[in-house]
Structure formats: C-alpha cells, structure tokens
Symmetry: C2
Amino acid sequence: MQAGKPVLYSYFRSSCSWRVRIALALKGIDYETVPINLIKDGGQQFSEEFQTLNPMKQVPALKIDGLTIGQSLAIIEYLEETRPTPRLLPQDPKKRASVRMISDLITSGIQPLQNLSVLKQVGQENQLPWAQKAISSGFNALEQILQSTAGKYCVGDEVSMADLCLAPQVANAERFKVDLTPYPTINNINKRLLALEAFQVSHPCRQPDTPAEMRN
Amino acid sequence: MQAGKPVLYSYFRSSCSWRVRIALALKGIDYETVPINLIKDGGQQFSEEFQTLNPMKQVPALKIDGLTIGQSLAIIEYLEETRPTPRLLPQDPKKRASVRMISDLITSGIQPLQNLSVLKQVGQENQLPWAQKAISSGFNALEQILQSTAGKYCVGDEVSMADLCLAPQVANAERFKVDLTPYPTINNINKRLLALEAFQVSHPCRQPDTPAEMRN
C-alpha cells in the first residue's frame, strides 16, 4: 500500500516538525507539506479533520506507506528502519543508546515543558521564565553529557537523530532568550549543524507556511 | 567491559523507573537496585554523586555493560538490541512504529507534564487539576489510537514497549484520581497487564524501597 508521496503535517515554527523535516531532507525523501497553523483559527490542530489523523492534536504527523505516524521520534525511527541510508543511528548499540538518551532528554525532558499548550496554561506573564527554566535546566544536563559523547556532532562525528533534536531545541532556546554562554558544546555543535544543507532547507524560515516577514 | 550485574537507580513510585523494571523482569535480567528517594533529604537525585551518574537528576538510570544510560525508552531500546528475547518491539516496521508512537505519546506527551518537578512549580493547590488535565487529554488521544492498534495489549496480542509505558501511566492516573470510565480500552489492557508476573514483581508496591505502609 505505497500511496504516492509521503505527506507531512507540519508547522514552520514547531521544533518537533523541524526534527522530521531534517530526517526527510537527509534521507532525500521527497514529500508534500500540509501546513497546520497552530495559532490561526484557534489552532488548526483542533479541527475535526486533523484530530482524526492525529488524536494528540499535535504536529508533526507523517502519512507514509499507507500509515499515519504521530510523534517525531517514532517517525524518525520508522524512516530509519525503512529507508536506512544515510543512517541516523550509529551501528554500535552503545552509541545508539547515547543517541537515544540525548534525543529523549530533549523530546521528553525539555520540549514538552515549553510547548505551546503548556505555556498557555501557565499564563502570559509566566511564560518566559517558565520556558527559560525548562530549557536551561535541560541544557545544563545536556552540556555535561555531550562532553563525553560529542565529536563534531552530538555523538561522535556523524549526524544522528540526537542532532535532529538539538538544533530545533536551540532555536527554541533563542526564541525564549536563553543565554547560551554556559553551553559552549551545545552552541558549537549547533553552529556546525546549521551549516549543513539538510538543516537549512528544513529550517523554519524556509517553509511553505513561513510568513513573509520571517523568511530569509 | 561486562562489569557484573546491572545496577538500576530507581524510585519505587517513579513511573519511568517502573517501565524499565518491567523490561528487566520480562527479559529475565538479574540486577541490583539502588534506591534514589526523590523526596527525602530534599531529593537524593540532586546529590553530587547521582548528578555525576545522571546529569538530568532523574530516575531511572541503568549501569550496564560498562555504560550508564538515562531515559527509560533509551534504556529499553538498548536492552532490546542487546538482549532481544523476548522481544518488546514487533518485527513488522509498521507495528514497531505504532509501538513507538504510543510509547512516545506517554513518555513525551503525558508523563513529563505531571512529574514531580513540574507539579512543584505549579504550586500545591493547582497540582491535582494540572495533573488530571495532562493525563486525561493524553488518554483521550490514546484511547482513540488504541482502538485501531490494540489486541490483547496495546499493539496486537504481544506485550510491547508501549505496554511498559501504559501500566505505569495508568497507576499515575489512579494516584491523581483521574476517572478512567471514558477509557475502556486503556482500562482493559491495563488489567490484563497487571495480571502478568513481570508487571507484578516490578510493581511500585513491591520494591526494596517501598515504605511498609504501601507494600502488599
């Protein structure tokens, strides 16, 4: 049941969507984007049509091979298993463990605490300090871990799933004005990643739904 | 560098620790428990010794094969890759995608929003409604997803990583007095899981650090 091009339900500024866009770009998978605007009309992710597709009412979701998958890491692991080149997980199980630990640290330990729906709940005036605390306490741990795992990238010298989580999280940190000075390892890896084509074409500032004033 | 028995840093009531304890039990891996009391002494996870081990200051962490891994799913995936029997991920990539999607939905979409450190931040009087909202909104999505993936368990008729996430999350739901009536599929799967030996021996009420009054 191969049903043509994969379709990615995405929002330009969603860090979770960006993770998947990088994976698709690195693996050279051609796909269509259906933009889901998380702000407009009270949030298009709440539409009945989208909820049928992803009951979590979150982006990203990927329609591929007759299947719809939600959750960015589940999508990336599926792409890795079905389109293994280039690899986003190292061959050595211990290095794979490091990649997954770093990925999970970001996707479970940082991002959920500073996403749109949580920030709505904490109230306008608390949003910035709340997000900053979540990100800096995660980055404190991450900086320490990377000191023993990193080479050019998060784990050794090959781009991995961990890097697909790192760059979008640093972009969020910048949006929330987190001081990155205490995190030189994170900062340097991020710079190297942003120089790669797959990170550039998938960047929030270059998506079909990026507003004109945010493009570059 | 096989260095004797694996060591699990665990807290009896931590749902993330319980996920890993179930994996260890199912795979018949003998291990030692080092209890980390998340409440006592202001939280033993904040000790310098533990932070060196897991900079995220969270349980679980598993020392195994000369490696220390944090993040429950990274641990479970490592166990699956190095001790594949019995399998906790199906062979079919599409079913694996469902298992990972459900696991990530719980571990990124529900648990982080109702964990101890977040609840401390929202303040005593808001804790219960905050946790209930996080769990019920996640369970609404999960109930809908399970209707197309579940057999006896979360995905088909074999216990998988998704089930290792489900039972501990239902236990949290009960602690936070979430009404489970709207979630018959979740409820039924959970009952089947709790009847299995691996879920019983790993249960929060039977750990070395379970206080006497909570044992049974």
